[in-house]
C-alpha cells in the first residue's frame, strides 16, 4: 500500500472520529431554555436615477424634441410586487402671465421603444417582483412644442412614484 493510500485512510479515520465526537455532544445535550425570535426584515424600496434634471433646448421650429438627458432608473425592492408610475406637472414660464405648457406635452419612452407615452396622468410603466436582480431602465423624454408657445424658459417636474404590495 503506497503512501498516498495511507494518507487517505488516515484522513478518513480522522474525519470519522471528529464526526462521532460531535455526535456524542449532540446526544448528551439537555435543552434548558429557548428564546422565541422574530426577525423583522424591513421593507425597502431604493430608487436611483442617473440624473434628476431634464432639459430641452428647442432651438428650431416647434415640434417634438427628445431630450439628450436619458434617465437610467434602477429600482431595488424587497417587497413582493411594486409598480412605478410617472407623472408630469405643467411647465411654467419664467414670466408671469405666460401660458403654461400642459403636462401632456411631455412624454417618455422606455429603453429602445419608439412609442412615447404622454405624462398627463399617472402612467404605470414598470412592474417588478421580488427575487429578481434589479435591472436598470432607460427613460427618454420628449417635449412637443407648438407655434403658440411663447419663447422663454419653462420649468416643471416629472415625478416617478412607486407603490409596493407587501
Amino acid at each position: 500500500m503506497n503512501i498516498k493510500k495511507i494518507k487517505t485512510l488516515l484522513v478518513l479515520l480522522f474525519i470519522s472520529i471528529i464526526s462521532n465526537t460531535h455526535s456524542a455532544i449532540d446526544t448528551d445535550m439537555q435543552e434548558v431554555a429557548s428564546l422565541n425570535v422574530n426577525a423583522v426584515v424591513a421593507p425597502y424600496t431604493t430608487v436611483s436615477v442617473s440624473t434628476n434634471e431634464l432639459s430641452f433646448s428647442v432651438l428650431g421650429t416647434p415640434g417634438a424634441y427628445i431630450s439628450t438627458d436619458v434617465v437610467t432608473l434602477t429600482v431595488d425592492s424587497n417587497q413582493s410586487t411594486w409598480s412605478a408610475f410617472a407623472q408630469a406637472s405643467s411647465l411654467v414660464h419664467n414670466d408671469f402671465g405666460v401660458a403654461d405648457l400642459p403636462a401632456e406635452r411631455l412624454s417618455f419612452a422606455i429603453n429602445d421603444s419608439k412609442q412615447f407615452l404622454p405624462l398627463k396622468n399617472n402612467v404605470l410603466f414598470l412592474q417588478g417582483v421580488i427575487d429578481q436582480e434589479p435591472e436598470p431602465v432607460k427613460l427618454s423624454f420628449r417635449l412637443t412644442t407648438t407655434w403658440q408657445d411663447t419663447p422663454g424658459i419653462y420649468k416643471g417636474k416629472v415625478t416617478i412614484a412607486f407603490l409596493n404590495n407587501p
Binding site: 425570535v37 422574530n38 426577525a39 424587497n78
Partner: protein
C-alpha cells in the same frame, strides 16, 4: 438491575436478622431513603421501637457519609424528634430513645437540603448508636443496637432563565448592527458545565427563510466587544462550575440582512443546551 435487587434483599435480610435479636427495631428496615435536588428540603421518617427492656437512652450519629467516594459534611443531615430542639445536625450524637418509652415507638424525622454546591449523586451513610455492640453485650447485657443505613439521592439540576424570553429584531449589517440583549440567570449543581446555544432557521408565512447561519451571538462586553459567532452550528458560549442562581452573562444577538430577503416577519427559536459531561 438484578444486582441492585440482590443487594437490597441482602441488606434487608441482615437488618431483619439483626433486629430479631435486638431490643430496638427500626422501621423501615431499609433505613432512610430520600431523593432531592438543590434548594429542595427532603424529609423522611424513621421509627425506632424499643422493647420493654430498653431503659437506657440511645443516641445516634452519622458514622459515615460519602458521595462518589468522598466524605460529606455530616452536619448536612438533620433530625428532629421529641427529644431535640428543632432540627439538629447528625455530626454529633442525638437522642433517639430516652429509655422510658416502655415499648412505645419514637418517630424521628430526618431532613436533607442540598445546596447548589452539593454534587449530584447517591449520598450513602450509616447512623450508628453511641454504645457499640460489645459494650451493649458485655456491660449492659443487651442486644446490639441496629445501624440505620442512609441513602440520599441528589438529582442533577440545571436551570436557565432568559430575560427577555423573546424578542423582535430587525435584520442589519455588521457595520451598523441592530442588537438585542438577553440576560442569563443560571444555576446548576453540576461540578462542571458547558452552555451551548443553537438557532433554528427562521421562517415566514410564505415559506421563505432566514437561515440560521445569519443569526449571530456574542457575550456583551461594552469595553472590548467580542467577535460575532454564527449559530450555523451549536456553539459553546459559557462554561463554569456549580453555581446557585446568578446572572452569569448578557448575550447580544444580531441577524445579518441580505438584500434579497423578502420583507416580513421570520419566526424561530434559539435554544440553550447544557452538555452532560
Amino acid at each position: 438491575m438484578t444486582s441492585k435487587i440482590f443487594r437490597l434483599l441482602c441488606t434487608w435480610l441482615v437488618l431483619f436478622s439483626s433486629q430479631v435479636f435486638s431490643k430496638v427495631v427500626v422501621f423501615p428496615v431499609t433505613g432512610l431513603n430520600l431523593t432531592t435536588y438543590p434548594d429542595n428540603v427532603s424529609q423522611g421518617l424513621v421509627s425506632f421501637l424499643p422493647d420493654a427492656s430498653e431503659t437506657t437512652p440511645v443516641y445516634y450519629q452519622l458514622s459515615s457519609f460519602r458521595v462518589n467516594g468522598s466524605d460529606v459534611d455530616k452536619s448536612k443531615l438533620k433530625l428532629k424528634n421529641y427529644y431535640t430542639n428543632g432540627f439538629s445536625s447528625l455530626d454529633r450524637y442525638r437522642a433517639i430513645l430516652s429509655g422510658k418509652e416502655k415499648s412505645n415507638s419514637v418517630t424521628t424525622m430526618f431532613e436533607f437540603k442540598p445546596t447548589w454546591y452539593d454534587v449530584p449523586g447517591v449520598y450513602s451513610g450509616l447512623l450508628t448508636a453511641n454504645i457499640n455492640a460489645n459494650e451493649r453485650i458485655n456491660s449492659y447485657k443487651l442486644e446490639p443496637l441496629p445501624e440505620v443505613p442512609i441513602q440520599v439521592i441528589v438529582s442533577p439540576k440545571t436551570s436557565l432563565s432568559l430575560n427577555p424570553a423573546q424578542f423582535s429584531i430587525a435584520t442589519s449589517s455588521f457595520n451598523t448592527p441592530v442588537i438585542r440583549e438577553v440576560a442569563l440567570s443560571f444555576a446548576s449543581n453540576k461540578p462542571r458545565w458547558s452552555l451551548y446555544i443553537s438557532a433554528e432557521n427562521l421562517n415566514n408565512s410564505t415559506d421563505r427563510q432566514v437561515a440560521n447561519d445569519r443569526v449571530y451571538v456574542r457575550i456583551k462586553d461594552s469595553l472590548n466587544p467580542k467577535p460575532w459567532v454564527s449559530l450555523a452550528r451549536p456553539a459553546e458560549i459559557l462554561s463554569g462550575q456549580a453555581t446557585p442562581p446568578s446572572d452569569i452573562a448578557t448575550l447580544e444577538f444580531m441577524v445579518n440582512s441580505k438584500r434579497l430577503d423578502k420583507a416580513g416577519n421570520y419566526l424561530g427559536r434559539i435554544k440553550f443546551f447544557v452538555a452532560n459531561k
